[in-house]
Symmetry: D4
Subunit: 147 residues, 8 copies
C-alpha cells in the first residue's frame, strides 16, 4: 500500500528531512505532506495576500485560516498523521491537528521527548505509536510498508 503521511507539529528542527531521507533511502512508496514550515511567511501570509490589519488577532486569524486550507486538505487525504512536539513553545496547533486526525479516523503517531509524557498523556492515549526520534518513525514506516 502506498501511504500518504502528513508530518505535523514542530518546525524548528530537521525531523521532517530525517524522516524523508530515511524513507527515500529505503525506497518506500510513501507520499509526505507537511504544513508550510517557514515561520515568518506562515505568520504573514494573511495580511500579505488579503490586506493589512490593525489588530494582531485578525492578522493571526487571516493567516491561520489560509494555512488551514492546506492543513485541512492534507489531513483529509492522509492515511497516517505524525505529530512532533518539541521542547519549546505552546504548540497547541500540533495538539489541535492530532485531535482532528483522531476524529477523522486517521492513524496517529506522536513524537516527543520522555519529559513530555505527562502533559501529552491524552494525545498519546489515542495514538498508535509514541516515538522519540525520527528514526523510530522511519522504522515504523519501513515495517508497515513490507510487501
Amino acid at each position: 500500500m502506498e501511504y500518504i503521511v502528513y508530518l505535523s507539529g514542530e518546525i524548528h528542527t530537521d525531523w521532517r528531512e530525517q524522516i524523508r531521507e530515511g524513507v527515500a533511502e529505503a525506497n518506500l512508496p510513501i507520499t509526505f505532506y507537511s504544513p508550510v514550515t517557514h515561520h515568518e511567511s506562515s505568520d504573514e501570509v494573511g495580511v500579505e495576500i488579503l490586506g493589512e490589519e490593525d489588530k494582531p488577532f485578525w492578522k493571526d486569524h487571516k493567516s491561520s485560516k489560509i494555512n488551514a486550507i492546506r492543513t485541512n486538505s492534507m489531513l483529509q487525504q492522509a492515511d497516517i498523521v505524525v505529530v512532533r512536539f518539541g521542547d519549546k513553545y505552546k504548540q497547541w496547533n500540533a495538539a489541535f491537528d492530532a485531535g482532528q486526525a483522531v476524529a477523522m479516523g486517521k492513524q496517529l503517531i506522536v513524537m516527543h521527548a520522555p519529559e513530555l509524557t505527562h502533559p501529552l498523556k491524552e494525545v498519546d492515549a489515542q495514538a498508535m505509536a509514541v516515538t522519540e526520534t525520527p528514526q523510530q518513525v522511519v522504522e515504523i514506516l519501513k515495517y508497515i510498508s513490507q510487501p
Copy 2:
C-alpha cells in the same frame, strides 16, 4: 433548542461554575458536561482501578484512556464545545479536544487571555467565538437560547 455544552480545558479556576451559575440564573434549558476536574483522581484512576504500573508512561496511559471514555462520549453528544486555556501548563489535552470537536462538526467556543492569541491562532481560526471571560460565554448562551 436545548443545547448540550461540553466544558473542556483548564481545571484550576472556577470558570465552569461561573458559567453554570450564570446560565442557571437565566433559567436556560442547557445541559452541561465536563471532564473529571479533580486532578489527582484523574491522574490516578488508571492504576487505582486497573492495577499498578512501574513506568510513568503506562500509568498515564491507563488513566488517560479511562478519562477518554467519558470525554469522547461527551464530545459526541455535545452541540457546543467550550475550551478554556489558562496561563499555566501545557494544556495540550484542551487543544486536542478542540481539534476533535471541530472534526466532529461541533460548534467551538474558545476562552483565553489576549496574551495567548498568537499561540492559539490555529485553534481560534476554527472557532465560532473567541472569548476572554465566563460572562461572555454566558452572554452567548443567553443570546442563542432566545425563543
Copy 3:
C-alpha cells in the same frame, strides 16, 4: 413522528408565526426552531458581547459566527428545513442555509413568490416542495403528521 422543523430565511414578515399558529391549531407534535429574527440584535451581538471592531467586516464576522452557533446546531437537529425567500434584500444566508440542509440530508421546503422561480431554480431543484404561502407549509406539515 414528532418532526423538528427549522424555519430559515426572510425575517421581515410574520410567516413563521402563521406556520406556528396553523400547526398549533391543528395540534401537531412539531417542534419549531428558528434563527434570531431581531435584525438589530443579530447584527450587533458580536461586538456587544465580544468587543468593538473598527472594520465593518470584523463586526459582521463576529456576529455571524455567534449566530452560526445557533443555526448550525439547529440545522443538525432538524428533520425538515423550510427556507423562505422574500422580495427584498440579497438573502444569501437563506440560500446558504438551504445548501447546508441539503448536504446534511435534511428535507428541504422552499417558499417564495413565483417571480423568483428563475433565480431560485437551483435551490428549488433540490427541494422536496416549493411553496408560495405559509398555509401551504402548514398543509404539508398536517399531511405528513397524520398518524
Copy 4:
C-alpha cells in the same frame, strides 16, 4: 498535494480564466472544475434533452437538475471551493453551493467586492478566506502549493 478546486458562482466576467492562467504560469499541480458557464445552454439543457415544458417552473427544474449532476459530482470531488459573487443578479445558486461545500467539509474561499460584505456575512463567516480579486486566489493557491 495536488488540489482539486471547484470554481463556483458568477459567470459574466473572466475571473475563472484569470485564476487558471495565474496558476498555469506558476505551473501548479491544480485541477480546476467549474459549472457549465454558458448561460443560455445551461438554461435550455433540460427541455432540449428531455422535452418541452409549458410552465417556466418545470423548464427551470429540468435544467437545474441536469446541471446539479455536474455540480454535485464536482463538489464531492473537490478539496477547495471558490465562490465568487458579482454585483448583479440574485446569485442564490452561488450561496447554495457555498452552503453545500461547508456542510461537506470542503475548504471555502469566497470572492466579492467590499460592498457586499454585509449581505454575505454568514457565508464569509464559514469561509477560510474572503478575497476580492482572482489574483488573491492565485496567491493563496501558490502559497498552499509550496512543496
Copy 5:
C-alpha cells in the same frame, strides 16, 4: 431497547394493523412509523396543496416529493425497516425504500409470499430476515425485545 420500526410497502391489506396489534398485546416498547397509506390522498396531495398540473408526470412528482418528506424522515429515525411486497402492482417504491434503508445501515426485514423469492433475491440478500406473515414479524420483534 425501545425500537423504532418503519413499516414500508404494500398498502392494500391490513398487515400493519396485525403487527401493531400483535405488538400491543405483547406490550412491547416499540414505536411504529408508516407512510400515508390512503392511496388517493397520497396520489393527490401534490396538486391539492401546491396547485394543479396538466401533465401526469408533474402531478406524480409533486405528490411523491411531499410523501418523501415523511418517508425520508422516518427512514432516518428508524432502527428497523420492514418492507412488505404484495402480489399485485409494481411496488418499486417498496424496493426503493429497502435500498435506502440498507445504505443507511438500518436493519431490514422483508415480507413476501414464497412465489416472489426469485424476483426479490437481491433485496432478500441484504435483509436480516425474510418473512411471509405479519405474525413472524411480531415474533421477531418479541424475540429482540426481551429484557
Copy 6:
C-alpha cells in the same frame, strides 16, 4: 471531470451498448461500470462456486450476495447511477439499486417509458433526470462533460 457511471437495471435490451457507443463516439472521459448482465450465469453463480442447494431460496441467496460484492463496490465508487426500467419483469433489484444510490449521495438518472411514470413516481422524485432513451443519457453525459 472524469465521471464514473454505473449502469443498473434492465438486461434484455442493448441500452448499455448504445450509451457506451454514444459516449465513445463523443470521446468523453467516462468510465462505465455495470452488473453481470448474463442472466443465467448471474443466477447460477452462487451454487456453481459455493455448492448446490436444495431450496431455491438459498440458491438465489448465494448468487445474489456474490453479485452484491460487485454491485455494492461499484455503487460506492460511482459518481452517477443510471437505472433503466424495462416493460417486463418485476425489476425490484433496479429500484433497490436506485434507493441505495440516493442514500449514498450519488446522482441518479432514471430511464423508462412514459407508461411507467405512475408506479415509478417515488424513484423519479429523487432522480436528477428522468429519461426515456439511451440517447438522452448520452446527451446528458455530453453536456456535463464539457470542459
Copy 7:
C-alpha cells in the same frame, strides 16, 4: 451524562448481573443493553420463527441474522461497549462485536483473564480499558459518571 452501555460476549457466567448490580447500588443513570443470552433460544430462533432448515449452515444463518437485528441496533445506540471473553469456546462473535464497535466510534472496554492477553492483543490495542473483573468495569462506570 447518561451512558448507554452494551454488554457483549461471554454468556455462561453472571458477569452482566454483577455489573448491573454494582451500578444499581451506586445509583448511576446508566442504561444497559445486552444480546439474548439464553443460548438455546438464541440458536433456535431462526428456524422457530422462519421455518426449518435441513442444513446446519442455514439454520445458524437465520438465527444469527435475527440476533443481529438486536445487536446491530444496540451497538448503534450505545456510547460504550463492554466485551467479555471467557476461557472457553471460540467467541468469535465477541471479537466481531468489538471490531464493529471500534469502527463505529464507540468506546470499547474489554474484560478477560490475563492468560488471554496474547491472543487478544489486537482487540485490547483499540480498547479504552482492559479489565479482568466486573468490579473493575463498575469502578470505571462510577468514575466516569461523577457529576
Copy 8:
C-alpha cells in the same frame, strides 16, 4: 472495476499465495493488501522499534498498535475484505477485522472449514460469501471482474 482486496486472518498456510496466483493467472486487475504475516516480527515489532517492556501486556500492546497502523489503513482503502479462519489458535484478530470491515461498509468474504460453521455464524451472517477454499475466492474474484 479494479478492486482492492484485503486478505486478513490465518497466517500459517499459503492461502494468500494461492489466491494471488489464481488471480495472476487470470490476469485480473486486482490489488491485494495483507497484514505482516511473519509471526515473530509481528510480535516483536513494538519492543524492537519503541523499546523493551517488562510486562507481556505492554509488549503486545505496542506491537499490536504498530500493526494496526497498517491494517486500519488497508481496511479503509479496501473494497473487499477476505477473512480466513484456520483450525488452530483463537484468531480473535480475524473476527475483529471482520467486524471492522462490516461496520465500514466493505464487502466481506469469509473462508473456513465447515466444522467452524456454528462458532462463526455471526460473522458468516454478515458476509457476502462463505467459502472453504482459496479457489472459491479466486472464482468469485474472476466472476465479479468480468468486463
